[in-house]
């Protein structure tokens, strides 16, 4: 069995979730190679070399992959797929974008967002916003899989893989990158933080999210939000937690002024400890919270910041 894993990165940093995808690959078993496709991405290659359990790092460093456009990357991965039984990526922005193209070009089904490996062809994945868990067998000879990182532990970074430079420069010529508007933040990544504090519609406006910042500073937490808070323009889209936003599973998740709709729960209910702060005792969030406070968040937050 040979497995190729697409490394999620931004040309500078290897996204830590890739280490969890490697552990999903180990559960399948076989010779594991990584692919770094980007431009001026030597720093990522250095990090990729150290990922444990990996024998080779394939590097496609070319302007065609600078922004990892799906049209171009999918052609590259499809070409490389000839030598592998399994192609994997983390279910993050890039993987979700290009992997189904690879599956279609290879004429196989994709198994999305797996949270468990039963055997080399049978996988576990959430459906219906996590309200049901499906066990699915793939009947294709080649497997194309995306991995929900929160379900797997990260492998170590004490490896020493060989680097193989590729000469491919597949450019479909049908799309181009215009610009990025990325949110700058000093805080840990939502997906990687041990503590997440999220605000919902109950926060009333974007300014009030400052009330979460003091607490986040003290706990080293990332700040998240419900869809309602993002839709209302309180905070940017990359903070949304849920079925269609980010999936998080920190040690501690604090939901502030969030009712607990199933679509929000889908993104955080695997957290170890959940705290809910909500003035409505009937809010569904209390059904999943380990600790709840039924109170006005504008009273609770300043006091909590003081007492931490």
């Amino acid at each position: 069995m040979s497995i190729l894993i697409y490394v999620e990165h931004d040309n500078n940093e290897l996204k830590a979730d890739t280490l969890k995808t490697v552990s999903a690959a180990q559960a399948i078993g076989g010779d594991i190679n990584l692919l770094v496709a980007g431009h001026n991405c030597a720093a990522v290659v250095e990090q990729a070399k150290n990922v444990s359990g990996v024998s080779k790092v394939l590097v496609a460093d070319n302007a065609a992959y600078a922004n990892q456009l799906a049209e171009n990357v999918s052609l590259l991965v499809t070409e490389l797929a000839a030598d592998y039984n399994v192609i994997m990526a983390t279910a993050l922005t890039t993987g979700k974008n290009f992997m189904p193209r690879v599956a279609a070009l290879l004429d196989v089904a994709q198994i999305s967002d797996i949270i468990g490996v039963e055997s080399a062809d049978t996988f576990v994945r959430p459906i219906y916003a996590g309200n049901a868990i499906a066990t699915v067998q793939s009947l294709d000879s080649k497997k194309v899989i995306t991995v929900r990182a929160t379900a797997f532990d990260a492998v170590a970074t004490d490896g020493n893989a060989d680097v193989v430079n590729l000469s491919q420069a597949t450019d479909a010529g049908t799309s181009s990158h215009v610009n990025d508007e990325f949110t700058e933040s000093e805080r840990p990544d939502l997906g990687a933080a041990n503590v997440v504090i999220s605000g919902g519609r109950g926060m009333q406006n974007g300014d009030n999210f400052k009330l979460l910042e003091g607490i986040a500073d003290k706990l080293g937490a990332a700040i998240g939000a419900s869809r309602a808070a993002v839709d209302a323009g309180f905070v940017p889209n990359d903070m949304q937690v849920g079925q269609t936003g980010k999936i998080v599973a920190p040690d501690l998740y604090i939901a502030v002024g969030i009712s607990g709709a199933i679509q929000h729960l889908a993104g955080m209910k695997d957290s170890k400890i959940i705290v809910a702060i909500n003035k409505d005792a009937e809010a569904p969030i209390f059904q999943v919270a380990d600790y709840g406070i039924v109170a006005d968040l504008f009273d609770v937050l300043p006091e909590l910041e003081n007492k931490l």
């Binding site: 922004n67 459906i127 309200n131 699915v136 706990l219 209390f286 999943v288 600790y291 406070i293 007492k307």
Partner: protein
């Protein structure tokens, strides 16, 4: 410019689904069904493009048994001009859905295909990208803004770090995210009018495709339930519990 909008009939997003006692699948008997929320956003976007003069004709299409005609009528009431049902009783893989759509794209030659980024039942997030690959077209997935610009379309995408804008040569494939627009409600006169709009039915088996399943659903189980915890009275008590009982803060 012709716009094709594939839509899916799914469980209503307010309904919490239950797993069948024999763990064979979820139980959809007597459950309220609706147009997938992301597909509804796709229809709305097409209608706005038409209202803005950028689109001339909107074709809604759904693949499924006869019951999905209900959602096609909804799309027609929202502003689609005509509809196509591809009839099948099979539960198709996304790959097969994409292959059927590819045939329709070849026949209808739309400049833009707008799909939902995922359906809230299978949560696969695949069909749009697969259709793009099969047709060789560029894609703008997870769109929060779509701007037609001559023979290109600029799509702003919701990505992990924030927003990314790409320029795609037309024809192109777009998949919608939640913030692309807020769908309108169909008015009663439009619901009446929709009943008279054309709805073609084709058989999935007529397309000459091999639709043999590529996956088998072995079982479906309910997720591990979280136990509801306790309500604390004071912030002091909360901090004490987090430190000493849960041990998640220092």
């Amino acid at each position: 410019m012709k716009v094709l909008v594939p839509i899916k009939r799914v469980i209503d997003y307010n309904v919490k689904v239950r797993v069948k006692a024999d763990n064979s699948d979820v139980d959809l008997a007597n459950v309220k069904m609706a147009i997938n929320p992301f597909c509804e956003i796709a229809v709305e976007e097409a209608v706005r493009l038409k209202e803005a003069g950028a689109a001339t004709e909107i074709i809604a299409i759904s693949i499924g048994d006869k019951s999905c005609q209900e959602q096609l009528r909804t799309a027609l009431a929202l502003g689609a001009d005509r509809a196509i049902q591809i009839n099948t009783d099979e539960k198709l893989d996304s790959l097969h859905v994409a292959k059927l759509l590819q045939k329709v794209v070849e026949e209808e030659q739309p400049q833009l295909v707008i799909l939902g980024k995922q359906s809230i039942d299978s949560d696969n997030n695949q069909t749009g990208q697969m259709l793009a690959a099969l047709t060789g077209l560029p894609q703008g997935t997870f769109a929060s803004e779509v701007k037609i610009d001559g023979d290109k379309v600029n799509v702003t995408r919701e990505v992990d770090g924030g927003l990314q804008t790409v320029a795609l040569n037309l024809p192109a494939i777009v998949t919608t995210d939640l913030r692309l627009n807020e769908p309108r409600y169909a008015s009663l006169p439009n619901i009446m009018k929709a009943k008279r709009k054309p709805l073609d039915v084709k058989e999935a088996s007529e397309f000459g495709l091999d639709l043999t399943p590529r996956t088998t659903l072995l079982k479906v189980t309910p997720p591990a339930e979280r136990q509801a915890g306790i309500v604390v009275e004071t912030v002091d008590e909360l901090v004490e519990k987090l430190k000493n009982e849960a041990k998640v803060i220092a």
